[in-house]
C-alpha cells in the first residue's frame, strides 16, 4: 500500500500536471474512496459517477492541496465525502449549504509535530463516540455520512431545531474533550 508520503508526492506531481501521478493516485486510493462514496450514496451507479467526478476534482484542485493544511488522506476523504453528500442532497431535493470549501480552509501546512499528533489521534474518534449518549453519536454519524443537517435531524427526532442544536453542540464539545484528552 502507498504510504502517506507517496500519496502526498502524487498530489504534488498532479499539481504540476503529471498524468501518471493521477493514475498512481487512482490505483492507490480509488478502492478506499469508492467505498466511502458507496456508503454515503448507497447506489452503485451513482457512486461510480461520483467517483469519476471526484478524481476530476482532485486533479483540478491538486495545486491547492498544500495550502489547506490537511493530511493527504484526510483531503481525499473529505473531498469524496463532501461530493457524495452534495449528490445525496441534490437527490433528496433539499436546499442545504453545499460543502465545498475544503480546499481553502486554512493557510500554512501543519508542522511535522502537528502531523504526528493528528496521526496519533486516528481511530480515537470511534472510541470517543461510544462515550456519548447513543442518539447523539448516531446524529453525528447521520450528519457526516448521511448528509443530514439540523433541519433534517429536527424532523427525524421530532424536536425543535434549537433544541437539537443545543443538544448536539454539547455532544460535539464532549467529543472534542474526549479526543483531546
Amino acid at each position: 500500500m502507498a504510504s502517506l508520503t507517496d500519496i502526498e508526492d502524487m498530489i504534488a506531481r498532479m499539481a504540476i500536471g503529471d498524468r501518471h501521478a493521477l493514475s498512481a493516485l487512482y490505483a492507490a486510493t480509488s478502492a478506499k474512496l469508492f467505498g466511502i462514496a458507496l456508503r454515503v450514496l448507497d447506489d452503485r451507479s451513482e457512486a461510480e459517477d461520483a467517483l469519476q467526478e471526484i478524481y476530476v476534482k482532485l486533479w483540478h484542485n491538486a495545486d491547492r492541496y498544500r495550502s489547506n493544511g490537511l493530511s493527504p488522506m484526510t483531503w481525499l476523504i473529505t473531498v469524496t465525502r463532501n461530493h457524495a453528500i452534495d449528490r445525496l442532497r441534490a437527490r433528496r431535493g433539499r436546499a442545504t449549504a453545499p460543502i465545498e470549501a475544503v480546499s481553502e480552509l486554512a493557510d500554512g501546512a501543519p508542522n511535522p509535530e502537528e502531523s504526528a499528533l493528528a496521526a496519533s489521534m486516528r481511530g480515537r474518534i470511534g472510541a470517543c463516540l461510544q462515550t456519548l449518549p447513543p442518539d447523539r453519536a448516531e446524529a453525528i454519524c447521520r450528519a457526516y455520512l448521511g448528509g443530514e443537517a439540523y433541519a433534517d435531524l429536527a424532523e427525524r427526532y421530532r424536536v425543535p431545531l434549537n433544541t437539537i442544536r443545543t443538544w448536539l453542540r454539547r455532544g460535539l464539545l464532549t467529543l472534542r474533550e474526549c479526543i483531546g484528552s
Binding site: 500500500m1 502507498a2 507517496d6 492507490a28 461510480e48 488522506m73 449549504a97 486554512a106 474518534i125 457526516y144
Partner: protein, 232 residues
C-alpha cells in the same frame, strides 16, 4: 490560557457543525466569511476535518469497476488518445506477440548470445525491451530452482517509482506479478513453484508502478517493456 473560554467552545462547536454540514446555507456562508480572516477558526475547522475523517476508517475499500479509470482519463484529457494501457487490453496480447505490427511496442526475439550463462544453464530466457531500446532487461530462468535472473542492460528505474515484472499467459491473457524489478542492475527473483510450469510459451512484461509495486494486484501504470519467453 486566554482564548479557551466560552468563545473557544462556541467556535469549536461551530467549526464542527460547519464540517459536519449541519448548518443552514446562510450560516455556513457566514462561517466561510469569518474563516477568511480568522486563523484560529480555520485551525478549528482543520482539526475537526481531520478528526471527523477518521469516521471513514472502518468503511471497507471496494474496487471500482475497471473501466472507470479510463473514463476519468478520457474526461480529463479528451484530446489525447485515451487507449487503455496494454496490460488492460490483454485481449490483444497474443496478436502482439505473434508478430503483428503495432504501434508502441516491439517484441524482440531472444538473442541467446546476450544471456550470460550462470552455473546451471538457464532453461528459458527472455529479452524484455521497450520499442525504442530505452529500457532492456534480460531474463534467464532456471526451472529447477525457480530462479529468475534479471539484468537491466539499458535504461533506468524512474525516481520514486518501481518497475513491476509480470508473467503474461498468452492463452487467456491473464497476468501474475513476479515482483518488482530490483533497483540494482542485476538481481534474482524467486518464482513461486506453481508458476514455474507457466513460463513455457508465455511472456514477461514490465509496467511502471508506485514504489513497492501495484497496490491492486493488476498493472496500474504503463507497460514499458515486454518480451516472449523462449526455451533454450
Amino acid at each position: 490560557m486566554s482564548g479557551w473560554g466560552l468563545d473557544h467552545d462556541d467556535d469549536s462547536a461551530l467549526a464542527a457543525e460547519y464540517v459536519l454540514g449541519l448548518l443552514a446555507p446562510e450560516e455556513a456562508a457566514s462561517v466561510e466569511r469569518r474563516m477568511a480572516e480568522d486563523a484560529a477558526l480555520r485551525d478549528l475547522v482543520r482539526d475537526w476535518t481531520e478528526q471527523l475523517a477518521t469516521m471513514t476508517d472502518d468503511i471497507p475499500a471496494i474496487e471500482p469497476p475497471r473501466p472507470l479509470q479510463d473514463r476519468v482519463m478520457r474526461r480529463l484529457f479528451p484530446e489525447t488518445d485515451a487507449r487503455p494501457s496494454l496490460l488492460q487490453r490483454w485481449g490483444i496480447w497474443p496478436l502482439l506477440l505473434g508478430g503483428v505490427v503495432t504501434a508502441g511496442l516491439v517484441v524482440l526475439a531472444l538473442d541467446p548470445g546476450l544471456i550470460r550463462r550462470g552455473t546451471g544453464a538457464p532453461e528459458y530466457a527472455a529479452r524484455i525491451a521497450a520499442e525504442d531500446g530505452s529500457l532492456v532487461v534480460e531474463a534467464s530462468f532456471d526451472r529447477d530452482e525457480g530462479r529468475l535472473e534479471v539484468r537491466r542492460i539499458a535504461g533506468t528505474i524512474p525516481q520514486g517509482r518501481d518497475l513491476e515484472l509480470w508473467l503474461v499467459r498468452l492463452q487467456d491473457s491473464t497476468t501474475t506479478s513476479l515482483g518488482v524489478l530490483p533497483r540494482d542492475e542485476a538481481g534474482v527473483i524467486t518464482v513461486r513453484a506453481d508458476l514455474i510450469p507457466e513460463f513455457e510459451n508465455n511472456a514477461l512484461a514490465l509496467s511502471d508502478e508506485p514504489l513497492g509495486g501495484s497496490p491492486t494486484g493488476q498493472a496500474t501504470g504503463e507497460v514499458v517493456a515486454l518480451g516472449t519467453i523462449t526455451p533454450r
